[in-house]
């Protein structure tokens, strides 16, 4: 579904990503791990073209996507939930949910209603609180809203940047479980996480970054079997 081929990127003079390759098939979940500053966020930002590549290419749905504007990629189903959830605090929960969906090229109101209903079933708390401003939700509720808002865009590839950051452990687990169930519907998921073990438990494959390079890769089972090595890279 998505293939990253030897990409590099720089911010100013600093090379933040160097020669990174991986691919994720429909229905697979890749966990991207690494310490602070390893390049996890930069990796997602380059895939969605918020950060220009200095080398390599990304293909999505067998199409080279270099140079396609981020908002067009999002409309095509390459959906990126950035760090910090980015819930618009002044808009209601419902308006936040409709934000992304309302820009899809096939903007079918019936489909939108059905998707909305699906999300309200996935996270019932969003239905109860749909009229209140997004800013007054708790951290966990905001993360649910961020995931639901992304799913309203009917992603084929869903990239999440540290969805469990700042959440209570049981809330984080609920979010991760919801992500796993998405892959059963054929969504390819790229999950950037600091909580390595929790992420690997739901992942098919894992990738550990250090200094912008791939330090370690393997199936989730392999990586879980060698926890000590994985953790030595996380700092």
């Amino acid at each position: 579904m998505i293939a990253v081929e030897a990409i590099s990127a720089r911010i100013g003079a600093v090379e933040v990503l160097s020669d990174i390759s991986f691919s994720v098939a429909p229905g697979a979940l890749l966990a991207v791990l690494g310490a602070n500053g390893a390049g996890k966020t930069s990796l997602l930002r380059s895939v969605s073209n918020l950060l220009p590549l200095s080398g390599g290419r990304v293909t999505y749905d067998r199409q080279d996507i270099s140079g396609i504007a981020p908002h067009l990629l999002a409309r095509k189903g390459l959906v990126h939930v950035p760090q910090g959830r980015q819930i618009v605090p002044t808009l209601s929960v419902l308006d936040n949910l409709l934000l992304g969906a309302s820009h899809l090229s096939q903007n079918d109101p019936d489909m939108m209603r059905k998707n909305l209903e699906d999300e309200f079933t996935r996270f019932p708390v969003l239905r109860e609180r749909q009229r209140i401003p997004g800013g007054s939700l708790s951290g966990g509720e905001q993360q649910m809203l961020a995931v639901s808002r992304a799913l309203m865009m009917r992603p084929k590839v869903l990239m999440l940047d540290e969805p469990s950051l700042g959440l209570a452990p049981q809330v984080a687990r609920a979010i991760l479980r919801a992500l796993r169930s998405l892959t059963e519907q054929g969504v390819a998921v790229i999950l950037v996480e600091q909580i390595a073990i929790g992420a690997l438990k739901i992942a098919d494959n894992g990738l550990v970054l250090r200094n912008g390079q791939v330090a370690l890769r393997g199936s989730a089972t392999e990586l879980l079997a060698d926890r000590g090595l994985v953790e030595s890279y996380l700092g």
Binding site: P70, H71, A74, P89, T90, L99, M153
Partner: protein, 300 residues
């Protein structure tokens, strides 16, 4: 002052106040989305007045004259963003703006506008024909009190424009996009929002608010090429009353400002315009976030 005087001043003040509110909303929406304002907002209003005057003078019916003003002002708003604001982005650290060059370029565009209008229509003041009735001083009498019909209709039209703006901002996808881009442009683009197009549309809407104000203010004042600056200043004052964040605060602030000005001019026709501005200045010293300002841009 008699009660009749007072009510008449109230109506005149409300008419001007509604114009100030509309102009201030143009500043507010651009500031909300891009952290920038058009220092020539008042001159856009002036240009709109002249174009409307010329179009009506040329015998166009009001709807066509409005269409002409709206078309020209949309192009001006688009051009301002495209050529005087956006090219500067690469000099500054994005929205946070190390560069304040847009202050100079938007004010510079204002000077170009003033001089263009002077070249086309001359330096002298112009009398603007009434918009809605056949004479500017048609009076309708309610009880004992006479009102200028034109003023009442201008207030109605200004309120309709305020209502349309409110609806666009809080009830449409466009308004949702504007608040999202204002919150975080990168996050907005990840939600499929075309940030550049949204920003362009905001500058066009700001220019259209000047267009409506310019058309409506014509019959209330004498129109001349250098009338713009004082509108920019008053609109900045009104927008600060709303803390640049609260569209309803800006409406209330605009009306209060207009009424205060009308009353001040009744007592002191020489320096009347000064008092409301002094009041806003004093208020900003006491409460810099504005009377109706809030820490968050959330009023719903």
């Amino acid at each position: 002052m008699t009660l009749t005087n007072f009510i008449q001043l109230l109506v005149t003040g409300m008419a001007m106040g509604a114009i100030y509110a509309l102009t201030a909303k143009g500043l507010f929406i651009a500031h909300l989305t891009t952290n920038r304002v058009n220092f020539g907002q008042g001159d856009f209003l002036m240009a709109a007045s002249f174009i409307s005057l010329a179009a009506i003078g040329a015998g166009l019916p009001l709807p066509l004259a409005v269409l002409a003003v709206v078309t020209v002002l949309s192009l001006m708003g688009w051009g301002l963003e495209r050529f005087a604001v956006r090219p500067l982005d690469r000099f500054g650290a994005g929205r946070a703006g190390g560069a304040l060059a847009w202050i100079l370029t938007t004010a510079g565009m204002a000077l170009i506008l003033q001089n263009t209008v002077e070249l086309l229509w001359g330096k002298s003041s112009q009398y603007s024909p009434p918009l809605f009735s056949d004479r500017r001083d048609n009076v309708i009498t309610v009880g004992q009190i006479g009102f200028f019909l034109e003023e009442l209709l201008i207030i109605l039209a200004a309120f309709a424009a305020v209502g349309a703006f409110w609806w666009a901002l809080f009830r449409t996808r466009w308004g949702r996009d504007v608040y999202t881009v204002a919150f975080n442009p990168d996050a907005a683009s990840l939600l499929g929002i075309d940030v550049r197009r949204t920003v362009t549309s905001v500058w066009i809407i700001a220019a259209l608010l000047a267009a409506v104000s310019g058309i409506l203010v014509g019959p209330l004042v004498t129109v001349h090429p250098h009338m713009g600056l004082i509108f920019t200043i008053k609109a900045l004052a009104v927008a600060s009353l709303g803390g640049f964040a609260n569209p309803i605060g800006i409406l209330v602030g605009g009306i209060l400002f207009g009424v205060a000005e009308a009353l001040a001019n009744y007592w002191d026709s020489k320096y009347g315009d000064l008092y409301p501005l002094l009041f806003v200045m004093a208020m900003l010293v006491l409460k810099p976030s504005g009377i109706f300002g809030e820490s968050k841009a959330d009023i719903r």
